[in-house]
Symmetry: C2
Subunit: 418 residues, 2 copies
């Protein structure tokens, strides 16, 4: 089965909204072995939306449309659906009930425009919306499937999970090709050096296919393998994975949609280690990454965003003379921050970052992008210097990533040198 994703919305073309919906649907399709052959974006104009439906309906077995179903005048998808399928709007009792209940529950007055949302194309089976007011549509015609959903991500996702995906899974059934995919996540090495390190790519990828995806946090290696059975595909995948690990194992921190923070959190939890964080230039990002997952309180004890020098001295007990002599961005300060936060929290590990994020050096004679990371544990302190670029937000992510990877290596006993 082949799918195409149409995203409706000027805000996507204008770049004011990222197309996270197409990414989410693409990911879900790959999980159930439906091949997304293409994706496109249509502006908020009925003719353009209908034109796009017409074009992709010829190419795909399943067409997804997201966006443009809201209650306001700039939402044109419902009209486009009515036009494309040649059907009519009728009031739907269940949808009206859902809308009323929702407003009752939130104790909000029912807006007039919401009542109109209970009008649904009669060629469609409405997909009820548990997180908002606009229903989605499921339409089958000519042996093909058309699914329209609202553009608000959490509304769309709920419809996918409870209604669309279960139905599509049934249709795919046993007919699917046995394709398996796995993404190995690396950090701390650039794309071409990683490629070189792997050596002969044909040999490494034998039985599968490789793709290299550079991101800010590291290079991802996607392996795809096809087999007559799931088992055969899995075995091919694992053989490629093992060969890659043999060449570049220490750079690989995880798989698929894991994050480095999640992996590090698990390493700490498994070893029953408590972590305390002291960060200045990353401004809380490192702590935020570590607490993005349920159960973070099992390993994350506290964090200090020691932005001012006073806070470094008062909370982390950094030595004031050293701080004045060597500066806030120095090996000594990083070391004392890690030791300090470990001591005051009585945690097993202290992790610290100090650096210059840019865009300017703020009076320092040290270069923008200079960052020190320190890990303190019961065996002592390890400090390392990094040199990143001149983009502040990128540097925050790079520095937090480098700190997490350094902690990962210290825990696993891997050398912290490249």
């Amino acid at each position: 089965m082949k799918a195409h994703i149409v995203t409706v919305g000027d805000e996507i073309l204008l770049g004011s909204t990222l197309n996270t919906n197409a990414a989410y649907i693409g990911e879900k399709m790959s999980e159930i072995e439906i091949n997304v052959g293409g994706a496109s974006v249509a502006p908020d104009k009925i003719d353009e939306i209908v034109g796009e439906y017409r074009r992709v309906w010829k190419k795909a077995d399943v067409v997804f449309s997201t966006g443009g179903l809201g209650p306001t005048h700039d939402d044109r998808t419902r009209e486009a659906v009515v036009d494309f399928f040649g059907c009519q709007l009728v009031g739907d009792k269940d949808v009206m009930e859902d809308i009323k209940e929702r407003f009752d529950r939130l104790n909000r007055p029912l807006a007039k425009i919401n009542e109109d949302q209970a009008m649904v194309p009669d060629c469609a089976e409405p997909i009820r919306n548990k997180r908002g007011t606009a229903p989605g549509y499921w339409i089958e015609r000519d042996g093909k499937i058309f699914v329209a959903m609202p553009g608000v991500p959490h509304e769309m996702r709920e419809m996918m999970e409870t209604f669309v995906l279960p139905r599509l899974k049934e249709r795919v059934g046993e007919s699917a090709a046995h394709t398996k995919r796995l993404t190995l996540l690396t950090t701390g090495i650039g794309e071409s050096n990683l490629y070189d390190k792997l050596g002969d790519i044909d040999e490494i990828s034998e039985g599968g296919e490789l793709a290299f995806l550079p991101t800010l946090g590291g290079v991802r290696i996607r392996i795809t393998a096809v087999g007559e059975t799931d088992k055969e595909a899995d075995e091919k995948l694992q053989a490629v994975e093992q060969r890659i690990r043999g060449k570049a194992g220490r750079f690989i921190f995880g798989k698929d949609d894991e994050t480095l923070a999640e992996v590090v959190g698990r390493l700490l939890k498994d070893r029953d280690l408590e972590l305390a964080v002291a960060e200045s230039c990353t401004g809380g990002l490192l702590s935020s990454m570590l607490t993005d997952f349920g159960g973070a309180s099992d390993f994350y004890e506290r964090g200090v965003v020691s932005y001012s020098n006073a806070s470094k001295v008062e909370i982390l007990h950094v030595n004031e003379d050293d701080l004045n002599a060597e500066g806030a961005v120095s090996q000594t300060t990083a070391k004392q921050m890690a030791e300090g936060v470990k001591a005051v929290s009585a945690a097993d590990v202290g992790l610290a970052i100090t650096g210059i994020m840019g865009p300017t050096a703020g009076g320092s004679d040290k270069p923008v992008g200079l960052v020190y990371v320190a890990v303190a544990d019961d065996d002592g302190v390890t400090v390392k210097a990094f040199n990143f670029g001149d983009d502040r937000r990128q540097n925050k992510v790079r520095a937090a990533t480098a700190a997490l990877d350094m902690l990962r290596r210290v825990i696993l006993g891997i050398s912290i040198d490249a």
Copy 2:
């Protein structure tokens, strides 16, 4: 002039990478009055890429292609360009020099596959890459422009800023339609209630067009106005803006690509106020948002991520008996956290968040999504309770956003009730 953006890459269709490049190009085109009529994604297959170039070349005056120019075997864009334009690869001295210099500077060995990147289609003017190795291409034919750039965002952006945008601006010159756009950013009110509050939309939007864009942090209202001159378009825009502000002013925190954190930071800085933050459930996100911009140290003094109860007592001096009696997620704890962080830091304002982010309540009998925010200043403390949903990461963003908006309202003397 009309543009179309083609993004090349299986990783976009598979949903493992967000299409930030298309968003960036869309935004830049709207700034120079080039209308992006559509956007699409092609898989890493030469035929599919060429097919997509063929289709959109008919519709657009400028075609952008990003991705697939890297050094590895899964990068197929260069071949597709050669095929589509019927040209040949030739070695480019300047590009070779750039690549050598780059590897010398980074003190890294030149990988063999990088040398091949100096081979460029002879129908193209190479766009030199200051942040990576793959050059981009600028091709003019049939009065149209074709631009190919690498998919790595910071490489692509640098090429856009230094090469592509200056050239396109020249071409657009005086011929552009006088279209002006403005996005008003609201928070703390839902889409349909905001729509209702505005009343008669035709009256409000007279002389312009409105679009409503709901996001996790709030609803954005985009206004578009067209005039015979820039001045006329601007005047129409401002008239619509004023009418919207008259109806829903207190929900509007900013414009265009401002963030709420940036706005709050500016409010603090303008009033010479220092801020200290104490957060538990948001795990550092609030501090990270506040420090995403250069100059944050002018208003941000320190932050404490008081995840454990011990850290609330030790660093923030929350009363241990109250904490045990009322729990970490309570009005009293929020209040004492805000007062505590203000006192220990000697900052002018203390901002605190405590809540239950989910997915589970972690032993508490309070509901997932319950969050207390407190603002302490020299006039006293204000506390407010919020009820969010059950998605942990969304709740982190919602809670941090609610805290920033509460601080904004307190500073500006706007009621904290909806």
